[in-house]
Symmetry: C2
């Protein structure tokens, strides 16, 4: 009897010592559950995968492909290890951040409007290069965004909750905002981040500054930002809003200086190759008795 891994994709490289059982979370679970020691939870497959734990008597480790895992802790049997999907969505979010930022700097709303009427009218545009970018949030997504910004020869000023060498603290915002061309927010929703960019902070930004939010909408005062964009003083490129969804009749939708996408930064094809590579690394580690990556318990 071999140890088995329950995995969501058939096209994985699985160590010879482990037998793979494939289940994508849809339909009836496969045979051979009694021998499953390593369970890779199907992604975005609802509640069914979580109901399998009581049927896995040999289970020793679980891999989730989400960054969050709090909901799993009460369900896992004692002694079963858990590894998270931390980092799998980073590049997707970073990529969309650049898409929002560049579409705004290079005037894409203008080009799309011209395209609808077949107009070839050229204007000079702002650019990212040489811009000073305040990067609020400097975890793994922030660093992925920074790599893109540096390739584009922007100046990056990283800001985190507390200052550390090379990284400014959030307390320094009042001095940093007046010199920023672009502010990128990639912050979670916490009591500390809620309302971080309010009317006073937005007023401290120079004319024509761009606010890009890909973290959580609550970090920005939506009414204050709407007023600044409506006045033509600031520009905004948002994947997240507060409230969310943004109501259909909200004035922000139709403002010239605003680009809005419906919270889709993390949901792109870049996820699957990364999820598969992490899964393969973890299966290999598990098979050879090496500690898992992203271990959270």
């Amino acid at each position: 009897m071999t140890a088995r891994a329950l995995v969501p994709w058939p096209d994985l490289s699985v160590p010879a010592e482990l037998g793979a059982v494939v289940w994508d979370g849809r339909g009836a679970p496969p045979d051979g559950l009694a021998e499953v020691e390593f369970y890779v939870l199907p992604y975005d497959a609802g509640a069914e995968p979580l109901k399998l734990f009581p049927r896995l008597p040999s289970l020793r480790a679980v891999q989730t492909l989400s960054a969050g895992y709090d909901h799993l802790l009460p369900l896992l049997p004692d002694g079963v290890r858990l590894a998270s999907g931390r980092g799998l969505h980073d590049l997707s979010v970073a990529e969309h951040t650049l898409a929002l930022l560049l579409a705004s700097q290079r005037l894409f709303p203008r080009w799309f409007t011209q395209q609808r009427i077949g107009a070839w009218d050229r204007v000079h545009t702002p650019s990212l290069a040489d811009s000073r970018v305040l990067l609020l949030g400097y975890g793994s997504i922030g660093r992925a965004i920074e790599r893109y910004l540096l390739a584009g020869e922007a100046e990056v000023i990283p800001v985190a909750g507390t200052a550390r060498p090379g990284v400014h603290g959030i307390a320094e915002l009042p001095e940093l905002l007046p010199a920023a061309d672009i502010v990128v927010l990639v912050l979670p929703d916490t009591p500390q981040t809620r309302g971080l960019l309010g009317a006073a902070e937005l007023a401290a930004l120079p004319d024509s500054a761009l606010v890009v939010n890909v973290g959580r909408g609550t970090a920005v005062d939506t009414a204050a930002l709407t007023a600044e964009v409506a006045a033509g003083r600031l520009r905004a490129a948002l994947d997240v809003t507060d409230p969310e969804p943004l109501p259909p009749d909200h004035p922000l939708w139709t403002l010239d200086g605003a680009i809005i996408t419906p919270h889709i930064a993390g949901g792109s094809d870049s996820f699957y190759p990364r999820a598969k590579r992490l899964t393969e690394r973890q299966l290999s580690r598990f098979a050879s008795g090496v500690e898992l990556e992203n271990l959270v318990r």
Copy 2:
């Protein structure tokens, strides 16, 4: 009597040995032309700046801020050196290339359409990460594009006129096209590049491949590309077309899978800081008798 430099901007750092005379190409030229030894041609200022050569008896070197310089050669007095603006537009073009590519991968036409009606409808999108990008043209702009693509964890396959270590030759295109997710063209208009992507080459690309052109429109067969995009088989993101401007009634304008901008990749704010830095370096070299950068004669 000090040697003088005639420069287009007042806010330059000029070596103490050189006296600066400022003229942006508009209005009457300033006094002191007889002592001008180094002339930085105003950019995009029409023909007036070129008429000044006969009035500069001390002239020893000219700096143009354009990449092209053929039109200057017949006008320059014998013995006057000429340096080009090669590279000053590279990053602007690279940045717009990424903007086109990311806007296409991340479905920005869909978001702009939804934005006009206030619709918050989410869909999963393609991404750049892990995509295989054929980069046709591997000069300084191509390498600037490559730095961006590598920051986004794409796989870059550089292709130049002739193969060299690490770079494929154009003759290998038939084998390279079927495996490309994205083709980026940054090629000049030459007899060799004209019609490079014709109906057969486009047909060799896999379904859903994206063609990004920021070089010259003539490298792609517009009718063949339009047919592929109209059929929903390929996608296109074009800053250049053939003919150019694209006629208002051309079918490409309104196709779902096409993004079109009116040849504006090189015209952004990233030019001026670079032009000023090059000018300052050249003034410093000139003042200390060091050979100029970008010397073309």
